[in-house]
């Protein structure tokens, strides 16, 4: 099989694609294939990695035109066509280079973020929006001596959102982000929603106001690509839809 890999570094007029031939084996992940290239064929290839177990969120990239974690995606499953994800089309996943999905795996950096080198993107913008929503717990009462009590059912609801690993796959899959770089995006909005529904929080509904701006909740067009590509099953689209409904309700009640 072949890996077709996006190559770019500062100073190049345009990116190019390099093709590496390798023998795939059962269970081989895209990350393992990249290490094979790095170690045996071309050690100038750049990609981020850490846990190799789909928990740290470092290695998200565009794999066969879908944002995924390289460590969790198996090469043979891709070649067999088992990993198709139906996402709404957007310009960043349009054709860039011809490739044969039965023989090749196409690897490109996450869209919507500046490329530093090869498959490494600059996550500063992503984390700027993270900080914008002020993701810090603000409790409703004075600090008690022991833990604040929580209903286990509330924890189950919260976990759906605390499971986010901030890998930016959702942002990369969002058609709106491609059009509007100032949209704060599905990851930050889902994080904001996590604090909103935390029963220990002081602000309750008012938390949602932080993103009650044109580039916040209201910019989402509910494509749902974010929820479909999330490697941890976090549903930003659901969070955004609920937040929008809550804000509508609040506005109607005020009138």
């Amino acid at each position: 099989m072949h890996l077709k890999v996006y190559r770019y570094r500062e100073g190049m007029a345009a990116p190019r694609y390099d093709t590496f031939e390798l023998v795939s084996s059962p269970g081989m992940t895209v990350l393992e294939a990249l290490f094979h290239v790095h170690e045996q064929l071309d050690d100038s290839l750049a990609f981020h990695y850490s846990c190799r177990g789909a928990v740290c969120g470092t290695c998200a990239m565009l794999i066969n035109k879908v944002p995924r974690l390289a460590c969790r995606t198996q090469v043979e499953s891709l070649l067999k066509g088992d990993l198709k994800v139906a996402i709404a089309p957007y310009p960043a996943i349009g054709e860039t280079v011809p490739w044969d999905p039965e023989k090749e795996v196409l690897l490109e950096p996450l869209p919507h973020l500046p490329v530093i080198k090869d498959l490494i993107v600059d996550m500063d913008v992503f984390f700027r929006f993270y900080r914008f929503i002020e993701p810090v717990f603000r409790p409703s009462d004075a600090t008690p001596e022991k833990e604040r009590r929580m209903d286990p059912a509330a924890v189950t609801k919260l976990e759906v959102y605390t499971n986010c690993i901030l890998c930016a796959a959702c942002s990369a899959a969002c058609p709106v982000e491609g059009q509007n770089p100032e949209y704060i995006g599905p990851a930050a909005l889902a994080k904001l929603y996590r604090f909103h529904i935390d029963p220990r929080e002081a602000e309750g509904a008012s938390r949602l106001h932080r993103a009650d701006i044109p580039n916040g909740w209201w910019a989402c067009e509910l494509y749902g690509n974010c929820s479909r590509v999330c490697p941890k099953g976090v549903p930003p689209r659901t969070a955004i839809a609920r937040a929008v409904a809550a804000l509508h309700k609040e506005k109607n009640e005020a009138e």
Binding site: R52, V55, K117, P139, E147, R149, E159
Partner: protein, 567 residues
């Protein structure tokens, strides 16, 4: 350019972030230097939980847990090599550390009454392990990072620390290679806290993240600090077959059982009382023995069976484990047993520090897995590493705050000299024409470490292993990455990591050869008994004129007198 901070924290995992917050409380100017974004630190992968005697769940006989019980279990688990004053301190502070995280907004799993849930873990007399499903490290790390972001504590991300700077026998900063640009920066500080985690990647089967290359221990050793108890390496009994991704002890805490090829619950033979929940050293040895004796499955694994827990409990308590088993082994634990084998998991040894986290090099402190206080001795109990990170992250920060008040920093001369020297060294490495592939030396190292310094050890094999490591050190000194660029050269970083790992491999080897007894994780087939008369002491390893030497220091005993461990 030389940057100045009051305190430099190297590493952005749980220890580093907890320390950074405490330092920022006092208004001191602290900064974090890390080779990855803090959220990509290995702490994020911790699954099962954090031990603290909250007493939210009663023991089997209806009694309530206490920090003293926690200390007793920890000392026994350590095979009496832990320093009991340090253990008492950790166990005493543990409940506060857990509650503190809750107050910061961390989401913990809960009991029906709303209190933090606790589950049984190996070697513990009570259900003591507080958890967030099987994503405890993830929830804790994200919570601390949220606070660090809010306070705008500077984080130098993608900076690989290349050396510690010393002046008049004190550590006064570090140099670091900025990956993106390839520039070497100098950092001056009144104190440096090492919080870089473990060195699991010197072994070939490890649960550790790929970044766990022991950089901090190697930096400290080269700068003149001592390493302690490096031969004590924990092998986790249950890592996923082939990829060695961790399957939490919590899986057995929730009731999972181990079965060999014959469907036999073999742990009954090795630990009649605790069975599957005996401490990790005991269970790992048992599995290795079953496999060696032909009762494992082809390829070398046994089964972890969770099916009897039922789909609901697996989905609620072990969702991450289920996902990992499905993604990386194609097995759904609701329907099939999970293939598991022991794998390197944790480094009990590390930078020799006192109970306050001060190393033998003034100005250099260490906490978390890269340090050896020692609270884990010869074998760490599950759930004790997370609690160590947050307890000592804070306590060592307190000590630093106290100490830096009396320090007058030197001028920038030592930093400038250090930057020049590192630049020369990197240029020298890149100029070499070595044809040898660096990764081949790394593969030889990990093979040697796993085959000669694994669960069962013996003199002759270890001597061969040490000889091989010395040869690899020689080979690496002529090798070079093919990529000669300065900008974003990951091959260079991996080369620098390997140099350090080979030093640590030698430290493990020398400690293991010299310790002629079996204690905790260190099992000598040629010396199968624990020998308190000669070896109830800490191993120290240092470098003198680039030569490694071994010495010893006493263990701090206390109320728990060494006795036989029965599980």
């Amino acid at each position: 350019m030389i940057r100045h901070h009051d305190v430099l924290i190297i590493g952005g995992g749980l220890t580093g972030l907890r320390a950074a917050l405490r330092i920022s409380d006092t208004g001191l100017n602290g900064a974090i230097v890390s080779k990855v974004h803090p959220l990509r630190s290995h702490s994020v992968a911790a699954q099962g939980g954090m031990n603290a005697s909250l007493g939210n769940v009663k023991g089997e006989d209806g009694t309530t847990d206490s920090w003293k019980s926690h200390a007793r279990d920890t000392v026994a688990g350590s095979d009496y090599l832990a320093d009991q004053d340090a253990v008492e301190r950790m166990c005493g502070e543990a409940p506060t550390a857990v509650i503190e995280l809750e107050h910061m907004g961390m989401v913990w799993s809960r009991l029906d009454n709303g209190k933090i849930a606790q589950r049984p873990f190996g070697g513990a007399g009570f259900p003591r392990t507080c958890y967030a499903a099987d994503r405890t490290g993830h929830n804790a790390l994200h919570t601390l990072y949220e606070r660090v972001s809010e306070r705008e504590i500077p984080v130098y991300e993608d900076f690989f620390v290349t050396s510690l700077i010393t002046n008049d026998g004190s550590c006064v900063g570090c140099t670091a290679l900025e990956l993106t640009t390839g520039h070497v920066h100098g950092f001056m500080a009144n104190a440096v806290l090492m919080a870089t985690g473990g060195f699991g990647r010197i072994f070939n089967r490890s649960t550790n993240a790929l970044i766990n290359t022991g950089d901090g221990q190697a930096l400290a050793l080269r700068a003149g600090a001592l390493l302690k108890d490096m031969e004590f390496v924990q092998f986790h009994p249950t890592t996923l077959y082939r990829t060695n991704i961790l399957i939490t002890e919590g899986a057995r805490g929730e009731g999972g059982i181990l079965l060999n090829q014959n469907g036999e619950r073999f742990m009954e033979r090795y630990a009649p009382k605790s069975i599957d929940l005996a401490p990790r050293d005991v269970v790992a040895r048992a599995i290795e023995r079953e496999i060696a004796d032909g009762r494992g499955f082809d390829g070398g694994y046994v089964h972890l069976d969770l099916r009897h827990l039922g789909a609901d409990r697996i989905r609620e308590r072990l969702p991450g484990i289920r996902q990992i088993a499905m993604d990386f082994a194609g097995v759904d634990p609701i329907q099939d047993p999970v293939p598991i084998q022991p794998g390197q998991h944790y480094s009990m040894g590390g930078i020799d520090v006192d109970i306050n986290g001060a190393s033998t090099l003034p100005g250099l402190y260490a906490a978390g897995e890269c340090a050896c206080v020692s609270v884990h001795g010869a074998n760490r109990l599950g759930g004790n590493s997370l609690v160590e990170t947050v307890v000592f992250g804070r306590l060592v920060a307190e000590k630093i705050i106290e100490d830096v008040a009396n320090i007058t920093p030197p001028d920038d001369a030592p930093a400038k000299a250090a930057v020049t020297s590192v630049n020369d060294r990197i240029d020298g490495i890149l100029r070499r024409e070595g044809r040898e592939r660096v990764f081949m030396i790394r593969d030889m190292m990990t093979d040697t470490m796993s085959s000669k310094f694994g669960i069962f050890r013996e003199k002759q094999k270890m001597q061969e292993g040490l000889g091989e490591i010395k040869k690899m050190q020689e080979r690496v000194s002529h090798a070079s990455p093919q990529n000669k660029e300065r900008q974003l050269n990951q091959a260079l970083v991996r080369f620098l990591e390997l140099e350090g790992m080979l030093l640590l491999a030698e430290a493990v080897a020398r400690g293991a050869l010299a310790r002629e007894e079996s204690r905790g994780s260190h099992t000598r087939t040629d010396y199968p008994e624990r020998d308190d008369l000669n070896f109830l002491k800490h191993t120290l390893v240092g470098l003198r004129d680039e030569t490694m030497y071994v010495s010893y220091k006493p263990v701090t005993l206390g109320v728990f007198q060494p006795r036989e461990r029965v599980y």
